[in-house]
């Protein structure tokens, strides 16, 4: 599966997925309640030291920040000019810490473990009238559909290339959606034929 997971045996790798999600949610909330820049910088330093502790290279920490870099720079400059550089630095440090912390979860947890952990936690949904089995089915179907859709899109673009239409969003999207809708109807029929009833 194409995920962002980096294999390893560190304590962060071994921690259950649910625990890591919970820790992230708690610290993500707490960080927004703090107004003290010293605490944010200390938090950022702690998160950064977790990378070598999890045996992750610092380049992978950088990889967490790089996609958001231009947004961070834009925020720093905007804040710096409007509310002062102190606020700008504070906001950017907070974002960096959160992105790095969330990155740790993503890098040290297999998607399959996340899905499994979630499915184990799904039973709570029963109390709000949602069938956990159905959620689980939707989850696994979607994971299976993504590579299938990429393949179908490739095929349709190939076919439209002959007509010189492979760059046209509409000429590609309509056949892709129609083909996948037909496929979905067949899959739904196939599931029902096999007497699926969660």
């Amino acid at each position: 599966m194409f995920d962002l997971f980096r294999p390893g045996h560190s304590f962060l790798h071994r921690l259950p997925a649910g625990t890591k999600v919970l820790l992230l949610a708690v610290s993500g909330t707490l960080v927004f309640l703090v107004d003290e820049i010293v605490i944010i910088v200390a938090f950022l330093a702690v998160v950064l030291t977790l990378y070598p502790l999890a045996r992750l290279p610092l380049t992978s920490a950088w990889a967490q920040l790089r996609p958001a870099l231009w947004i961070l720079v834009a925020i720093l400059v905007a804040q710096g000019l409007i509310n002062g550089w102190f606020v700008g630095f504070f906001v950017v440090a907070r974002f960096a810490a959160l992105l790095l912390l969330a990155g740790l979860l993503t890098l040290t947890t297999r998607v399959s473990d996340m899905v499994e952990g979630m499915e184990r936690g799904l039973w709570v949904l029963r109390y709000v009238g949602v069938n956990p089995g159905k959620v689980s089915l939707a989850l696994s179907l979607a994971l299976r559909f993504i590579p299938v859709l990429a393949t179908i899109t490739g095929e349709v673009r190939e076919a439209q290339k002959v007509r010189g239409l492979d760059r046209s969003v509409i000429a590609v999207a309509i056949p892709v959606v129609v083909r996948t809708l037909r496929m979905s109807d067949e899959i739904a029929d196939a599931i029902e034929t096999r007497g699926y009833g969660p």
Partner: protein
């Protein structure tokens, strides 16, 4: 919620993910990258309907949160939701739901111009209504500043509204059985 609903929810979640694979287009005038991904939101609402469309985008958000690199540019992971653009992603289920709800109020086909308005209401209106306050809160900006920072995306969004409406109309014509049992 029957089996077909579940399969459609999964399909439109996956479709939104697949749309993120298209290389982003950069408008020369504004310099802001446009990704095809938010068309998934519009199509889910316009084709799958309120409940299925909304849940499809909720499922998509869950897949991103658990660490799949499904957002345009290969981004993913829980950090997205805590970051500046988190509100935009979280607004998608509501946007798809609203588009679906508006479309469902019509008995027959929705006139093309009306569908443009519906898709714009959800795909631009709801998305900015939630995304901008979140950006303002998370980046400690005023609402006006956050709005000014996001306005560059509107031309691209308008193009996507038109494209999504055209695709939705084309799909409905080519696949009239759509929406049975929904």
């Amino acid at each position: 919620m029957n089996t077909k609903d579940i399969v459609y929810i999964a399909l439109f979640a996956a479709l939104t993910a697949a749309l993120g694979l298209f290389p982003p287009l950069t408008l020369p005038a504004v310099g802001v990258p446009i990704t095809a991904q938010s068309m998934g939101v519009m199509l889910a609402g316009a084709l799958a309907g309120s409940k299925r469309g909304g849940l499809a985008l909720l499922l998509f958000a869950v897949l991103v949160a658990i660490g799949l690199p499904l957002l345009a540019g290969g981004r993913g992971g829980f950090g997205i939701f805590l970051g500046p653009s988190g509100g935009f992603i979280l607004s998608w289920p509501i946007a798809a739901f609203l588009i679906g709800w508006l479309v469902e109020r019509h008995k027959g086909d929705v006139p093309f111009v009306t569908s443009l308005i519906y898709i714009a209401l959800g795909g631009i209106g709801v998305v900015y209504l939630i995304g901008i306050p979140w950006l303002a809160f998370a980046a400690e900006l005023t609402l006006l500043q956050a709005f000014a920072g996001s306005i560059g995306f509107v031309p691209g969004d308008l193009i996507k509204v038109v494209l999504a409406a055209l695709v939705a109309r084309g799909v409905r014509r080519a696949y009239p059985g759509l929406g049975d049992g929904g």
